[in-house]
């Protein structure tokens, strides 16, 4: 190869790389509309949060934006957890919203380096399962692209006389299930009005303590006797389905059935990844 040919080759390569450049003009934010996703895979956002965590409301907003953008495809759990941000302190932050389930998830996935806000998207990801809030959008999109391996149907019934919630859960495997598949069912509650630290407020001239913050998707606990990880439902063939019934008593609890949802999570316990998720309103 002589030098003129080489120069030509280099010029071409140079031009090619220069052309791989996307300058974006305003507006930078995409507005309006719901993103339509073809498949039946749903995505669980587990938001490790705490009412004394000032950066957490901004993260909750990201979860809400995604919940709205992918209507019906995204399920959110606000997991009040950890001693640093979720333990009660003073009069304003007197109620303990932490749960046994939430603490177990926190200890298992966030572990020693538990910084908040942080979250999990279907408990999957390339670099560990814990993903910072601004990485949620990309991971949610990636998870939604996946082909669903199962479907979950939830039928909750709340008896106001006995204050007992009964949930019938039907899981149908669309492809063969693994030996370590587990079914966990949780209760969440919306519109809990309680104090929250919010570092976005001082720039608007407000106190950083918002005493009327609306907490959405708050994890309240597990339904049934199987706790955080749920019941093992091992190795089902494609096309088969199972139905399970779980109960939970609301007696003596502050939970308001009207604002509660049940969340069913089919997951691989060993890997820790979520296979499918669904939710249904209690009332």
């Amino acid at each position: 190869m002589n030098s003129s040919k080489i120069s030509l080759l280099l010029c071409v390569m140079f031009a090619l790389i220069l052309s791989s450049c996307d300058e974006i003009a305003p507006p930078y934010k995409q507005t309006g509309g719901v993103v339509v996703v073809k498949g039946t895979q749903k995505v669980l956002i587990e938001d490790f949060t705490g009412f004394r965590c000032g950066n957490c409301p901004a993260a909750a907003q990201i979860a809400t934006d995604l919940y709205d953008a992918y209507k019906g495809k995204v399920i959110v759990l606000g997991i009040h957890s950890g001693a640093t941000f979720a333990s009660p302190r003073g009069k304003l932050y007197a109620t303990d919203f932490r749960t046994t389930v939430g603490e177990e998830l926190f200890a298992t996935f966030l572990g020693l380096t538990g910084a908040q806000p942080n979250g999990m998207i279907n408990r999957s990801g390339n670099n560990g399962k814990i993903i910072a809030p601004d990485g949620w959008a990309a991971q949610v999109a990636a998870e939604l692209e996946k082909e669903a391996k199962a479907s979950i149907d939830l039928t909750p019934k709340y008896d106001s006389l006995t204050q007992i919630l009964t949930v019938d859960v039907q899981v149908k495997w669309l492809s063969a299930g693994g030996p370590d598949d587990h079914l966990a069912v949780y209760l969440s509650e919306d519109s809990v009005i309680y104090a929250q630290k919010d570092y976005r407020r001082p720039s608007k001239g407000l106190s950083e303590d918002d005493s009327n913050y609306v907490h959405m998707h708050m994890l309240r606990g597990a339904i049934g006797e199987f706790g955080t990880w749920g019941e093992q439902v091992a190795s089902k063939a494609a096309g088969t389905s199972i139905t399970k019934r779980y109960t939970l008593s609301f007696a003596g609890k502050p939970w308001r059935p009207k604002y509660c949802s049940v969340v069913g999570i089919l997951h691989n316990k060993q890997e820790g990844s979520v296979i499918q998720v669904n939710d249904a309103k209690v009332k």
Partner: protein
């Protein structure tokens, strides 16, 4: 990649069986094993480590035959030593081949497939490297070609994905770089063609890099291809040298710049002069939005593509390393001047054996910008105004240091130093409310050679620290105290206040090094944390083998290499390290 690895292993085992004579090529490499035990120590804030014992290990194997070479690096993190990213060991520990390559080189061309490290110029748009101390390895995995078919001109092209722990990141990196050495290049047109005086050298360079990453965000319009370029020159004439590089990056909204759509810019200029007994170095660096990564959502040292040269002095004395400056890629402007002078032997100050003095001054400011780094929501419309190359009001770091080294006799040497530093902790360590720290440090070192092989070295250091509250405008205020005189603002961490340090080291060259040192945090605000951090090390060296056994209580802190930093948690326990080359 998965099938490639077993193939390489087989390849190596075959070679190792047959590589008995030179015709079959040469195998070389090195290994390092670090083991650390952990004892819970709530006083110093050491975490409870359930495994109690952790280890990092590395083995490099390289095979060379003629123009061909290949190599692997096996790494294990069982689990990673505390302070390394927990992504190394994951939940249950990790081990595997983190790096493998094959390479062919001749006079004209140099091709590498697999993993490689590459740097364009000073690295402001591309530098992939391994810095084991930081747990950083951002090698590219792909193809690299270097062409040197025209004398004086080298062209490098790269295509790859970037390493992220034991996987690769989501982005694709493409780049091309050219470097022209004028004197050599002109020789293509005849041996006597020259435009520069004898001994002058001029080098030009330029590179372009683009990374592709899919836009999966339904809320923002993100650029999928983000391009950056640099232009640079180096000039040398006698003892004088000038090195300048300018880099530019198009809009690159991401986690670390809070989704700003501003372009990025960086300028680095370094001038130096050296003559016998004298060295002067002056550098300037200005940065705006130059954090460049192959994935928008990576953080800390993960998937970083570029390196922004540091303009602050890197210290080795222990107390001088308590508050090291970390480069702020989102925006900073800094200057540094360094003078090294050796008084001639026999002169009044030089004495019989010579005296040298080193003076260093560095100062880093914010750049003049409408962006408020403490308020991520203040970026309106995802853009901000900035005046590149103009000093902003906030001082990030200010550091004056003088060191005098004197040899008093054939056997005795001393080294005295003084440092005065201002460190904006709340910004550098991203810990709002922790304010700034003003420190004065005195260091002294005494080295006495008893015999030709036995040496005693002593170090005594003292740090006087003052914690200051900083208001929103960056003004330095007095600390706020409560009725009991306890500081409530700024917030203080475990290592606050003044320190004193002493070290004694005994060397029996070339085999044994024994040292004991203690750090005493006598000025801590909390009387319960006025602790001694005692450590000891025994090092044994035989040929290429190096064995270190240590025990110590280690304070938590920050470790930086060239302005790139990681936090190191406090720990208490034994350490063992074995390394060798072969």
């Amino acid at each position: 990649m998965r099938t490639f690895l077993p193939a390489l292993l087989v390849f190596f085992s075959v070679i190792s069986l047959t590589a008995q004579n030179q015709n079959d090529g040469v195998i070389g490499g090195n290994f390092q094993v670090d083991v650390q035990s952990y004892t819970p120590d709530s006083l110093i804030g050491a975490q409870n480590v359930p495994e109690k014992l952790r280890s990092n290990a590395f083995l490099n194997l390289n095979y060379t035959k003629g123009n061909f070479s290949a190599g692997i690096r096996y790494e294990s993190y069982l689990k990673e030593i505390l302070g390394f990213s927990p992504n190394w060991g994951g939940k249950e520990g990790n081990a595997g081949i983190g790096y493998r390559y094959a390479r062919y080189t001749n006079d004209d061309i140099d091709v590498t497939i697999g993993n490689f490290y590459e740097q364009f110029g000073n690295g402001m748009i591309l530098r992939t490297y391994e810095e084991r101390g930081l747990g950083l390895d951002n090698a590219l995995d792909g193809v690299r070609t270097k062409l040197t078919m025209i004398k004086g001109l080298q062209i490098t092209g790269v295509f790859g994905k970037q390493r992220s722990f034991f996987t690769v990141g989501p982005g694709i990196v493409r780049g091309i770089d050219g470097e022209l050495l004028l004197e050599d290049f002109l020789k293509n047109f005849g041996d006597n063609v020259s435009i520069l005086p004898e001994g002058w050298r001029l080098r030009f360079g330029g590179g372009v890099l683009s990374k592709y990453e899919q836009d999966l965000d339904p809320t923002l319009n993100l650029p999928e291809n983000v391009l950056a370029y640099n232009t640079r020159m180096t000039f040398q004439a006698g003892g004088f040298a000038l090195d300048a590089e300018y880099a530019y990056k198009i809009n690159d909204p991401k986690t670390t710049n809070v989704n700003t759509y501003n372009p990025g810019r960086a300028l680095y200029v370094n001038g130096s002069y050296s003559a016998p007994g004298l060295g002067i170095n002056i550098s300037l660096k200005s940065l705006d939005n130059m954090d460049y990564r192959s994935s928008r959502r990576s953080q800390l040292t993960d998937l970083v593509l570029n390196y922004l040269p540091a303009v602050t002095k890197q210290y080795t004395y222990r107390l001088l390393t308590l508050y090291p400056y970390a480069t702020q890629p989102n925006g900073e402007i800094g200057v540094q001047a360094d003078l090294l002078y050796t008084f001639p032997k026999g002169s009044f100050l030089g004495g019989k054996y010579g005296t040298s003095i080193n003076i260093n001054y560095a100062r880093v400011h914010s750049i003049d910008s409408s962006r408020n780094l403490n308020d991520s929501n203040a970026i309106e419309g995802n853009l901000y105004n900035t005046k590149f190359l103009q000093f902003g009001d906030r001082v990030f770091f200010d550091d004056f240091n003088v060191e005098i080294q004197k040899k008093w006799s054939k056997d005795f040497k001393t080294n005295f130093g003084f440092m005065r530093q201002y460190y904006l902790k709340e910004l550098i360590e991203v810990l709002p409310g922790t304010g700034a720290i003003k420190t004065d440090v005195i260091t002294s070192e005494f080295i006495y050679s008893m015999t030709s092989t036995q040496t005693i070295r002593l170090e005594i250091q003292h740090m006087a620290a003052e914690h200051r509250k900083i208001d929103a405008a960056g003004n330095d205020l007095d600390a706020e105290k409560d009725a009991n005189g306890k500081t409530i603002s700024p917030k203080l961490d475990n290592n606050n206040g003044s320190w004193i340090y002493a070290l004694a080291e005994y060397t029996i060259a070339p085999q044994w090094f024994i040292s004991v040192f203690n750090e005493y945090n006598y000025g801590n605000e909390d009387p319960n944390r006025r602790l001694n951090y005692l450590s000891g090390n025994i090092i044994y060296v035989k040929d290429a083998l190096r064995l270190t056994i240590g025990y110590g209580r280690v304070r938590g802190g920050i470790l930086c290499v060239g302005g790139v930093c990681r936090p190191v948690p406090a720990s208490n326990g034994f350490s063992l390290s074995v390394s060798s080359t072969f």
